[in-house]
């Protein structure tokens, strides 16, 4: 995305994200106000805050729609004008004009109309939005979404629960929808089916501290995925899959670890870190030691995430499965369609879910799954870290550090004192550490 249209689209997206963040903050403040203030004066303030939140929601929806319009139809007109192609410019002009004429006021009027349009009416009712099944492909979702007006999109999201967490919608649209969902949860934390407030609260704090974050997924249980920038604009995207004990409640730490991986891989900063917390990670080591189901359950969501990153135009895609997260990443790569990744790194993983690296499948830009090998699958472990040794049990499949497994193996030894033995499984992300430097070398190398 370049040129004037691209710059305008980015400005609209940035503004949408900023106001989405304001909405999240406002929801948190509103809920806190209710806890310490009640009565008529408080009720009047609550009504005003609710009205404001609704206005912000509308503005964000408009901005997201506008950003996409500028990125697609606006860029097409700009290209045609720059190239001096009169016919193409006229067609692009008509397409852009039609999109720009979609306004909230006209949309509302259409939405309010019931039944068939009256003869001679200037506008008719909004067509019903489609309900897409769970198996629908991302291209269909994308095409459907792009054709909808802002008001229709709200109805579309309601008619297709969770679709904003899947591949198909543009990254910024997913972020806006998930921020709106987070704001709704924060505004009414006692509502039915609400997620653990520790998770939603931690995410709200993270968004406040890191406004560039994109919320790529967020479900009712508080599971989700965040990126620390626009994956579509990055030369390299590292997806970090953490392990035991991870959840959205610890998003700050997990995202920090993911950022450390990116910094090690791309010192020039042209890297976006994605943190996959869209899983029910084992709460404890004993659970992680024997439970394969949790990894298997989340594998399809990791696969879908990677597909959406590829669709977004991200550059090189790397997946780092840490500890039990390695089991999850292995399970995703073992699915028939494989994992959209140029490189998979098992980091201190207790298993791979398969017997040999060739049973894993990775796909590049051409989207053709290929068997894994030592050029596309790597494994790294600290010599004294006990977790990778659990692979000897075979419960989670072959150990990625096993010479017979077939991955590119890297053993590091950073233990200098007995006290260091306590950190052998947690020190991989320490800035300046031996393991992190080695991880950087692996991720920087093009497969």
């Amino acid at each position: 995305m370049s040129g004037r249209a691209g710059a305008a689209a980015r400005a609209a997206s940035d503004t949408a994200r900023a106001w989405g963040g304001h909405a999240v903050a406002l929801a948190g403040i509103g809920a806190a106000l209710r806890d310490c203030w009640s009565g008529q004066a408080a009720a009047a303030t609550a009504v005003e805050l609710d009205a404001l939140a609704a206005h912000i929601d509308e503005l964000v929806a408009d901005l997201v729609h506008l950003a996409e319009t500028l990125e697609v139809e606006g860029a097409a007109l700009e290209r045609a004008v720059d190239d001096g192609e009169a016919g193409a410019a006229a067609a692009a002009d008509a397409a852009l004009l039609a999109r720009l004429q979609i306004s909230r006021s006209v949309d509302r009027m259409r939405a309010a109309l019931q039944g068939p349009a009256l003869p001679g009416a200037v506008v008719g009712p909004l067509p019903a939005v489609p309900e897409l099944g769970p198996g629908v492909d991302a291209a269909t979702v994308a095409a459907t979404w792009h054709g909808l007006s802002p008001v229709q999109r709200s109805a579309f999201l309601e008619a297709n629960p969770g679709i904003e967490d899947r591949s198909g919608l543009p990254i910024d649209a997913r972020d806006a929808a998930n921020r709106s969902e987070l704001a709704a949860v924060l505004a009414d934390p006692a509502g039915p089916g609400r997620a653990d407030p520790d998770r939603t609260g931690a995410l709200a704090e993270h968004l406040s501290a890191h406004p560039e974050t994109r919320v790529l997924a967020l479900d009712g249980a508080g599971r989700g995925t965040v990126a620390d920038g626009d994956p579509g604009a990055a030369g390299q995207v590292v997806t970090f899959v953490p392990g035991t004990g991870s959840s959205m409640a610890g998003v700050a730490d997990a995202a920090g670890d993911a950022a450390a991986l990116c910094a090690a891989a791309a010192p020039d900063g042209n890297c976006v870190a994605v943190t996959f917390l869209d899983q029910d990670a084992p709460e404890s080591v004993p659970v992680a030691a024997v439970d394969r189901e949790r990894a298997a359950e989340a594998a399809a969501r990791l696969q879908d995430l990677q597909n959406s990153l590829r669709d977004a135009g991200a550059g090189e895609l790397d997946v780092v499965g840490y500890s039990y997260g390695g089991v999850l990443a292995g399970a995703a790569a073992a699915l028939p369609a494989g994992l959209a990744a140029d490189q998979l790194l098992f980091l201190a993983a207790p298993g791979s879910t398969v017997d040999h690296v060739s049973e894993l499948r990775l796909s590049g830009d051409d989207e053709v799954p290929r068997p894994g090998d030592s050029t596309s699958v790597a494994a790294l472990a600290e010599r004294w870290d006990p977790v990778p040794w659990w692979a000897l049990t075979g419960i989670h499949g072959a150990g990625p550090m096993d010479p017979d497994f077939g991955a590119d193996r890297h053993t590091v030894d950073s233990v200098e004192t007995v006290a260091d033995l306590d950190d052998t499984h947690t020190g991989y992300f320490d800035p300046g550490s031996i393991p992190l430097a080695e991880i950087g070398r692996i991720l920087a190398a093009r497969p």
Partner: protein
């Protein structure tokens, strides 16, 4: 007098930090401003207004695109949409400031009245019980 609902509560130690957060948020929503559009194709009035006013980044970028597409119908539509958007952003910022100010005012005045009225009602209810 039994059964009077006295659902009034005001805890300054809890309330004040939230009102501070609300005021800070209202301040933070001020759109970043830059010099207005100066590009060709926008017309003399727009140029004069652009020189005098400041605009949000999204409007400035859209105006630049509009200027490049000035020979097409979309050019005017882009400029119009950009101006509407700018007005929306300004309105939302001011509205949030007003809501924050009103909340502080109510908490300091009406909130206290609410609490006093509740205390009176509770006393009456207690006496009647």
């Amino acid at each position: 007098m039994k059964g009077i609902a006295v659902n009034v509560h005001l805890d300054p130690s809890c309330l004040d930090p939230q009102l501070d957060r609300l005021a800070a948020l209202a301040g933070a929503t001020a759109p970043a401003r830059a010099a207005g559009p100066q590009g060709p194709g926008l017309g003399p009035i727009h140029e004069i207004l652009g020189a005098l006013a400041t605009v949000s980044p999204v409007r400035r970028r859209m105006d630049e695109l509009a200027a490049a597409c000035a020979a097409y119908a979309s050019g005017a539509a882009l400029a119009g949409r950009a101006a509407d958007l700018d007005a929306d952003l300004t309105w939302l910022h001011r509205e949030l400031q007003q809501v924050a100010a009103a909340a502080v005012h109510r908490a300091r005045t009406l909130g206290v009245i609410d609490a006093e009225r509740a205390a009176d009602l509770a006393a009456v209810a207690g006496a009647a019980a």
